[in-house]
């Protein structure tokens, strides 16, 4: 190889980068198709074409060595690895098949009418009439998923407050283990993780719901009974924070983009496009690592076998090589093909759930709210993997 490999002295987990990752992501894209990041002795891929290729090529980029910075071949995972996110074929096959069915678009048809009614009820509660100012994160983005998803899984009412901090820590833990965000979460983790583990047991789950469906698959032999609770755990880890932040992202985008709310009111059939465009624009899940199983060519260079590679979904979703005017939130574009849910065999198995939650809430809001705008400065919540809002003050005119 004669080409000099681009090397960047940047820390993707630095608090300032987490607060505003866009300059670092642009620098990674511009540096080349493959970039060396010596700070953590790792590599990064940030251009759309190479990100898409790496995500679909599970044969070269494995997940079972962990999709965070810790290499499970040499280091210890903080919890038993996920049977989905942190597994490769053939181990990945059965859990994925079961969960894809449980959360499939056909299964969700049954929930559609109920979730829209739930969204209308929530909107009626927070909008008594006239103009309202509120923090859209707790009042809407968190309230709606927490209202419908735990019930759909079949969780007990007690203790649901553990869900968000558990998920937040799990996504922080993909970063460096000595990072301040991880250290801050470690102390309360046994309590959250203990509650989550107990909710995965069949006796605790409601007799109907996603959780019961997973156990029923185990009774049919499609999973082992030892696998069932870990598959339920995946729902609880990856199914709450991500949708909260996805809904926060679309509400923020609609509040700050002139004309977007009016266009959506005129053309409510665009609500699904609006959510996917927000997932592209914001990338609630910013990046995951993969590990090379052999020497893998990327661009003109080669990643040696056994190396951790940061695959930056967020950078790919704003790559000007793929998207016209990528920094614009644009309801008239087709966001299809974004990698905000990943791509390939590990693509977010709950994506249809997330879309249905967002569609339900937006539809209910559009029916009542004539304008949506910021009512103050939004504040970021920092996480090593997620991009999200701590608070989003908005004014809703009814």
């Amino acid at each position: 190889m004669t080409a000099v490999l681009p090397t960047l002295d940047l820390d993707p987990f630095d608090p300032e980068v987490l607060r505003d990752p866009l300059p670092a992501q642009a620098a990674l894209r511009d540096a080349g198709p493959l970039v060396r990041l010596p700070r953590y002795d790792t590599w990064a891929i940030a251009r759309y074409a190479e990100v898409h290729a790496a995500l679909t090529d599970w044969q070269s980029f494995e997940s079972s060595a962990g999709v965070g910075l810790t290499n499970f071949r040499t280091g210890t995972p903080w919890r038993p690895p996920s049977l989905l996110l942190e597994a490769d074929p053939p181990h990945h096959d059965a859990p994925r098949a079961v969960l894809a069915k449980v959360l499939g678009p056909r299964a969700l048809r049954k929930l559609r009418a109920d979730w829209l009614a739930d969204a209308e009820a929530l909107v009626d509660e927070v909008l008594p009439g006239g103009t309202v100012e509120l923090d859209a994160v707790p009042a809407l983005a968190a309230a709606f998923p927490l209202r419908v998803f735990p019930d759909a899984v079949g969780l007990a009412r007690e203790g649901r407050e553990h869900l968000l901090p558990y998920g937040d820590h799990a996504f922080n833990a993909f970063g460096p283990t000595d990072n301040a965000l991880v250290l801050a979460g470690n102390a309360s983790m046994p309590e959250h993780a203990g509650w989550v583990a107990r909710q995965c047991e069949r006796e605790v789950l409601a007799p109907a719901g996603f959780g019961a469906d997973i156990w029923a698959a185990a009774d049919r032999g499609e999973l082992t009974h030892a696998q069932a609770p870990l598959v339920v755990r995946s729902l609880l880890t990856a199914g709450v924070d991500t949708t909260v932040h996805g809904i926060g992202a679309v509400l923020h985008a609609l509040a700050v983009t002139p004309g977007a709310w009016q266009l959506l009111r005129e053309r409510p059939e665009l609500v699904r496009v609006a959510f996917d465009e927000a997932v592209r624009w914001e990338s609630p899940v910013q990046a995951f690592f993969r590990t090379t199983v052999r020497d893998v060519p990327v661009g003109d260079a080669v990643v040696p076998a056994g190396e951790k590679v940061l695959v930056v979904f967020a950078a790919a979703n704003r790559d000007p090589r793929r998207w016209a005017d990528p920094d614009a939130f644009d309801l008239t574009r087709d966001p299809s093909g974004h990698v905000g849910f990943g791509m390939g065999i590990h693509q977010c198995v709950g994506q249809h759930v997330a879309r249905l939650e967002a569609e339900s809430l937006l539809t209910a809001l559009l029916a009542r709210v004539t304008s949506l705008e910021l009512a103050g400065d939004p504040v970021r919540h920092l996480n090593n993997t997620l991009r999200s809002w701590e608070s989003l003050p908005v004014r809703l005119v009814c």
Partner: protein
């Protein structure tokens, strides 16, 4: 980035692998990755005769760029296998549906694989998976004669028993299937008499079988243009063989989301109000296909000349 309708594959190789059996290597016409699959999957091949035939994938899924299927010439068959043997040539294009899996390998500590003749095909990738999973496994491969049995050269392993009927008689099912412990899963694929015999002896909770029954087909698959009606706007659009329904309806103004464009993720699912879908996806199961009320528009098409979608 190619957005062409991904429902065609090219025959890259055709090779005789046993008496009356040819193996086909199928690739994407543009050299792209093919949709991912799991052991036990089959594809639908849509032949130029209009016939659709199901074949188990029997290649290596660690090669994302090629599918392998093996086709037995069936004298009593409906002509599809004869056409593959006699007419199909390297370089030809055939329509593709799937892959779909109705014969999944479930997790178990022990497997007994029973193959009858060409029934070895779905079991080959299962044997590979069992090896990688570190499970206990055994394969008993029966056939009329060694010369009629495909892939014997790939099965050089002490856990494989080759059982040609002309040398050893019928498979000793009584011996093989008694005294199995509860952790064993038995996977059997082969001719109907073998499956019937196995079902008669094997404890039902342990057994998984695959039977290819000719599907009741509506109108034959066609490659002529058809019309899609967008019910909400009343727009009509003609879908020619070169474009997908997704591309056609988007061009007609429908804001349909998609993601994988391979029929695997489910994002583009669209409600069908009237018409006879030609399902080519990997998402819907048999019951969902039979219901005929939804379509994965990135790959699936129409059997009739009119399809009404809820768009």
């Amino acid at each position: 980035m190619t957005t062409a309708a991904r429902s065609t594959v090219r025959v890259a190789a055709k090779e005789r692998v046993a008496d009356g059996v040819v193996a086909l290597t199928l690739v994407d016409p543009d050299g792209a990755r093919l949709p991912d699959w799991t052991p036990g999957s089959h594809v639908d091949l849509v032949l130029p005769t209009g016939d659709t035939r199901q074949y188990s994938l029997c290649g290596d899924r660690w090669d994302a760029f090629a599918y392998r299927v093996a086709v037995l010439r069936e004298p009593a068959g409906r002509g599809g296998s004869a056409w593959v043997h006699d007419e199909l040539a390297v370089g030809d294009l055939v329509g593709l549906g799937g892959p779909r899996n109705q014969f999944r390998l479930v997790p178990a500590p022990r497997y007994l694989f029973l193959a009858g003749g060409i029934g070895i095909t779905p079991l080959l990738p299962m044997v590979d998976a069992a090896r990688r999973l570190g499970a206990d496994w055994r394969l008993v491969h029966g056939g009329r004669s060694r010369a009629s049995m495909a892939f014997l050269d790939e099965l050089d392993d002490p856990r494989v028993t080759v059982w040609p009927q002309d040398e050893l008689g019928l498979l000793p099912l009584g011996d093989l299937l008694t005294g199995l412990d509860d952790g064993t899963r038995v996977y059997c694929c082969g001719p109907a008499p073998l499956l019937d015999a196995v079902e008669a002896v094997c404890p039902p909770g342990l057994l998984r079988t695959e039977r290819f029954v000719a599907r009741e087909q509506g109108a034959p698959v066609r490659d002529e243009p058809f019309t899609v009606v967008l019910d909400r706007t009343g727009a009509e659009v003609v879908v020619t063989p070169e474009v997908s329904v997704l591309e056609a309806v988007r061009a007609a103004g429908a804001d349909v989301l998609s993601s994988c464009r391979q029929g695997t993720c489910g994002t583009c699912e669209t409600t069908v109000l009237a018409g006879d879908p030609d399902h080519r996806d990997s998402v819907l199961d048999e019951a969902e296909r039979a219901a005929g009320d939804c379509l994965l528009v990135c790959v699936s098409r129409s059997r009739g000349d009119r399809l009404v979608l809820d768009l």
